[in-house]
Symmetry: C2
Subunit: 344 residues, 2 copies
């Protein structure tokens, strides 16, 4: 089959790889109907050292079950399913606590002999714990929004949940990428009253306004912090969702959070240290979030996606075939595309 | 009147200072019956640069109201009261949210013309918002335990509350100082099932066991982390309360916290950066806590102190008069005393 392999910074290829097939009795093989490129894929695209075996790419996908192992009881061939961006057994104590990203028998796509999502098919380990059936056909117009349940919409929701967003909350969202926009949507869905979106790309922040942002702050760094404080009587907001992952974005987050408030980080951390010394201590700032346990949220968010109450799929602004994936990476890295759908 | 002034590292003096007196209509003057030396006083005692005006010391005290300003309605001369370690108006939005340490009209003792607690009397700003009346006489045997409501017991409670300690929780407490022992007591009071206390001073950890610690870990650093993990099936504990304030203690905290868990920091941070990069991100670790809003907790904790259900005053193992305060600092710095009471 064909699948995406990254060999180093800027070097993404679509190649023949071994067909996805059952290995464990708990596996399923899913033919990919829709996949996409993630903002987090851009980090290795910018800096990955050359690797001769390369790295299989993609962790967001939905598709049709082709085959299941003998111990898979919840799915059968023909089911339309979405996968969260990590696989998990669904039954260990971490999964029971809603932290599927720390599953005792889970793992990541594109690693340890597991396929990536940017390909024709994927062997899904722990299929019963991982997959969620979708009550739609594989030609449904809802598929792009349903695909965001794999990662970005659940990730935005994780930011809103971990910062305690609810009716009446004021929240700052840092970053106008797909996760930032989904965080806006998720915060709005949970009843946030005021949503300040920090981002510089007008076409993205315009979508952010449609998703529920009440204010857009185009300034960055100290100027951006000053502007948020100006808009919030000097205080900042109780909830801050950081959707970039750089040290600068995190510093901004700590600058705009209100005393006693929480910063949730959703952008994969590109820094090793967090500047939370005496000032953050005295102000009782909480740092929370992390890799979203998407699987824990899919059932909660699915109904609103199915009935169109939210349309997170609007973050996709370009669609490519599998062979055009390398161009999709370039377009996202060059900020020509917000988020790229892949139809193998 | 006589009061404690620090002039630099190791240089604590008891001197004549201007008498405490009303300045604002919202002030009260409290004659100090009992005060104490705080672990956090040891940081400047170790490293404060020479200062010629010096710094008034002490932020934990209880005593008797001598005089109140015309706008103070809740207290009158003769009331026995305890003060939390910061003063606050009790009515702003931060106070209403239980974050009195960030009060819009609050501040700290020993700064900006406000007396410190290690003296004969204190002018208490915002008396109505700050003080709590105690239904005891000034000769009550409960006074040492009641004094811990000023800081250490409320601070330990803050750690337990911010990490979500409740019935059945497993919690690691790092540090066997007064705050650490109070955190053990607070966690036990909230129903923690397993309390792992990390500390090296046997007489302190023995008291920790009496306060509710189920396991004592004498090892530090990587060895200490390994031991906690060994005791918790490799996972660490969901709640971790860091009661030291050094970078090493914080690293230990991050090493013993379970995926998805929370580290609450109570030790005044002596570091400027927190090592929470990719690993903590993937593990969804939360960093929380900070300067405890003691005022928010006093009423909740008071009944259990009054009826003897908890005896946090057992952390005091030495009592000095006001003139002996410099020796009290030395004893605490040399680890000869755990926590020193001051009876002016």
């Amino acid at each position: 089959m064909r699948a995406t392999v990254m060999y180093g910074a800027g070097d993404v290829r679509v190649e023949d790889v071994p067909d996805a097939g059952l290995r464990e009795p708990t596996d399923a093989v899913v033919r990919v109907v829709l996949s996409c490129i993630c903002g987090s894929d851009l980090w290795p695209y910018a800096s990955m050292p050359s690797s001769s075996p390369g790295r299989r790419m993609g962790h967001e996908f939905l598709g049709v079950v082709e085959e299941v192992g003998p111990e898979v009881s919840g799915f059968r061939a023909g089911d339309v399913v979405v996968s969260p961006f990590t696989w998990a057994d669904g039954s260990c104590d971490f999964c029971a606590a809603g932290l599927h990203t720390s599953c005792r028998h889970g793992g990541r796509y594109g690693a340890d002999g597991v396929d990536g999502g940017q390909g024709e098919a994927v062997r899904v380990p722990q299929a019963d714990g991982t997959l969620v059936r979708l009550p739609v056909g594989e030609d449904s117009a809802l598929l792009p929004s349903l695909l965001t349940l794999s990662d970005v919409f659940c990730t935005g929701h994780h930011g809103a949940v971990t910062t305690g967003v609810g009716p009446g909350t004021a929240v700052t969202v840092i970053g106008d990428g797909a996760v930032g926009l989904c965080a806006v949507l998720a915060a709005r869905r949970l009843g946030a009253e005021r949503i300040l979106l920090m981002g510089r790309h007008a076409e993205r922040t315009d979508l952010g306004r449609e998703f529920g942002a009440t204010d857009v702050i185009a300034q960055r760094g100290a100027e951006g912090v000053a502007r948020v404080r100006e808009l919030t009587r000097g205080d900042g907001t109780h909830a801050v969702i950081e959707c970039v992952g750089t040290g600068q974005a995190l510093e901004t987050a700590l600058g705009v959070v209100r005393d006693g408030g929480a910063v949730s980080r959703l952008g994969v951390s590109q820094y090793t240290k967090v500047p939370m010394g005496f000032d953050a201590f005295m102000r009782n700032i909480t740092l929370t979030g992390g890799a979203a346990p998407a699987r824990a949220y899919i059932e909660q968010l699915l109904p609103d996606v199915l009935d169109g109450a939210v349309q997170p799929g609007r973050v996709f602004d370009r669609t490519v075939g599998l062979d055009e994936v390398p161009g999709g990476y370039r377009a996202m890295a060059d900020r020509e595309a917000l988020k790229v759908l892949v139809r193998p």
